[in-house]
Amino acid sequence: MKGRFAAFLPLGFIASMCIIFSFWLPLGVYDDDVVFWKQFPAAFITMLVGLLGLAVAPYPIVRLVALLIAAAALIPLPTAELQMGLSASGFWLALIGVALFAWTVMADFAAMRRNRWRDILIPLLFGLLLVYLWQAIVVGFAVPAVLLPTPTAIAAAIGNGAATLADDFRQTFLKAVLAGFFLGNLIGFATALLADRIPFVQRGLLPLGNFASAVPIIGIAPIMVMWFGFGWESKTAVIVFMIFFPMLVNALAGLNAADRISLDLMRSYGASYGQTLLKLRLPMALPFLFNALKINSTLALIGAIVAEFFGSPTAGMGFRISVEAARMSLDMVWATIAVAAVAGSAFYGILALLERAFTFWHPSYRAQN
């Protein structure tokens, strides 16, 4: 066990030194008095406990707990009255120490044998670290909220504006995005089937599809708003145009994916076009179709929100972003972005789960890295 940590001994050593040196350095200025660690005895003790745990604990789980304790020690230090900035050298040094320790804990987990928790824990820890540093830097350097709000301010905005955010979500996601996603994928897939039946059409459409991938299709948003009005219909139209070609290109690739031998086998059974399509070519095409669906989920959300910049009723995520940005109330903007991020990730995640259910047989799932 000692051996596994040996590689990180230098890093852990540096981290410990950072924290220990910080005890002699100032934490900021309060009413022209320089403030030190000893004015925060509770935080000081907590930090010592955490440091001890990180230095000697043998098991990664114990080190994780010690890390959380050490990180918790720093949280009460920046207060509204304390002036920090560059004068709080002790604080920043301790923060660096905690961050380095976090890295070593992540490295410990990364070196462990593969288990279910490991793959979720490490990115989670990394994300928490980023949020932690974000909060510390914004508060410590007194970054104006106009430029970048703290994570806690954003959380507060989400809580306060929950009703508005829910309305926006309904307008943008549940109406425009879902309708556009469904319609666009359906039309794209139907066109692919048509092109499969008529090779002439396929040879004509495929080069156009590749051309279209280079074109910023989102530019038709103003035109769609002009044609379909401010409501969700125009956003759906934009989405349909944006996701049509990715679905078409992927569906065609999928329909052509069946190998020669399997097609010959179907022919030897005297199977009809429909039977071959249903029993062989469509299952073979599923990995490609899901690839397109995942790409399109992101495109659909982006298309809806950007299209709302060009005109929308008094609700909608894009509308909210542009209006609140113009009013410089950025915490609401970030709150909307957070909601959009969660919605986008959840949408993608659901598709990924469906993909795993329907294409469990594909080699990419069976290969353990």
């Binding site: 490490i122 002439f200 004509g204 156009l208 280079a214 989102i218 929100i305 542009s322 410089m328």
Partner: protein, 299 residues
């Protein structure tokens, strides 16, 4: 010679004829749609005199409106011609001027994004902790519609004094580092384990393995993702130009066109955007072919 050309166009596997046919079909549909969408306005205007207008007059009118619902192709081309060839490239009315603003921000953002992507990929492949902690977030980052907040980022950076090329380039960089990272990670990991073992028998350092084996093996993946990246970079730049603070660029043209109801202007800006996108991707493809040929590929 002509028989070869004829064979290429009309052969059963040829692509020229189908593409031309599909494009022609689209143009025909476009003209018909223009008639349908512009009909009511033109008919109302021509009937103002009291006498019902002839069908041919209405049809001709639908293809020659000032502010049509759907401009006819020749109108778009005429406007395009007017704002590119007939105007000096340094004037603010020239589409070439706007295209250049957009293109320069695109290429700058693309360059940043490629460098960032390659650095990240190299880090992820060599440092296991980075792989386990950062990779999931990189993938998750793409489900966040960053494009949607691009205008806001421009506004914020503008309020602290950063205007012009750099903010747009930053947005483009964020958008295009992802495909480059993913592609490069795949590419850097693509060499056969046999090859890696061979390098170990030579006691090669990680640095040597990187430059002699992994980098060359990843070139095809790099170019594939760079073509995607430059298209996305263009989209990012255009959306970044949407806030009213932007003074130039294709996105700004789209916005002013939509504010003033100048539909033909919007369509010609879109045409320029399409041309710009194709030129960039095509140029990237050309560089790819040259590079691969110099590296001995048979394609």
């Amino acid at each position: 010679m002509t028989t070869d050309v004829m064979g290429a166009v009309f052969s059963p596997r040829g692509r020229t004829l189908p593409v031309v046919t599909v494009v022609a079909a689209i143009l025909v549909l476009w003209y018909l749609l223009a008639i349908a969408l512009n009909w009511s306005q033109v008919e109302a205007k021509l009937s103002a005199g009291g006498t019902p207008p002839a069908v041919s007059d209405v049809v001709a009118g639908t293809w020659a409106m000032d502010r049509p619902v759907l401009p006819a192709p020749h109108q778009v081309i005429a406007e395009f011609w007017k704002t590119t060839v007939e105007v000096s490239p340094s004037s603010k009315r020239s589409l070439v001027y706007h295209a250049w603003i957009t293109a320069s921000a695109t290429m700058l953002g693309f360059a940043f994004g490629v460098i960032l992507g390659m650095l990240l990929a190299a880090g992820i492949v060599h440092v296991r902790t980075l792989d386990r902690s950062l990779m999931p977030w990189i993938i998750a980052s793409q489900t966040v519609p960053i494009l949607a907040i691009a205008p806001m980022i421009i506004v914020i950076l503008g309020s602290i004094g950063m205007v012009g090329l750099v903010p747009k380039a930053i947005i483009s960089m964020y958008l295009c580092f992802f495909p480059v990272t993913i592609g490069m990670v795949k590419g850097l990991r693509s060499p056969d384990p046999l090859q890696i073992d061979l390098m170990r028998t030579y006691s090669a350092t990680a640095w040597q393995v990187f430059w002699k084996l992994r980098m060359p093996a990843s070139v095809p993946f790099l170019f594939a993702s760079m073509k995607v990246a430059i298209a996305i970079s263009l989209v990012g730049t255009i959306v970044g130009e949407l806030p009213t603070g932007a003074s130039g660029g294709i996105g700004a043209r789209l916005l002013t066109g939509s504010y003033y109801g100048q539909t033909i202007q919007i369509w010609s800006a879109l045409l320029m955007a399409a041309i710009l996108g194709s030129v960039l991707v095509y140029a990237m493809g050309g560089i790819e072919r040259l590079t691969l040929r110099r590296m001995g590929s048979r394609a």
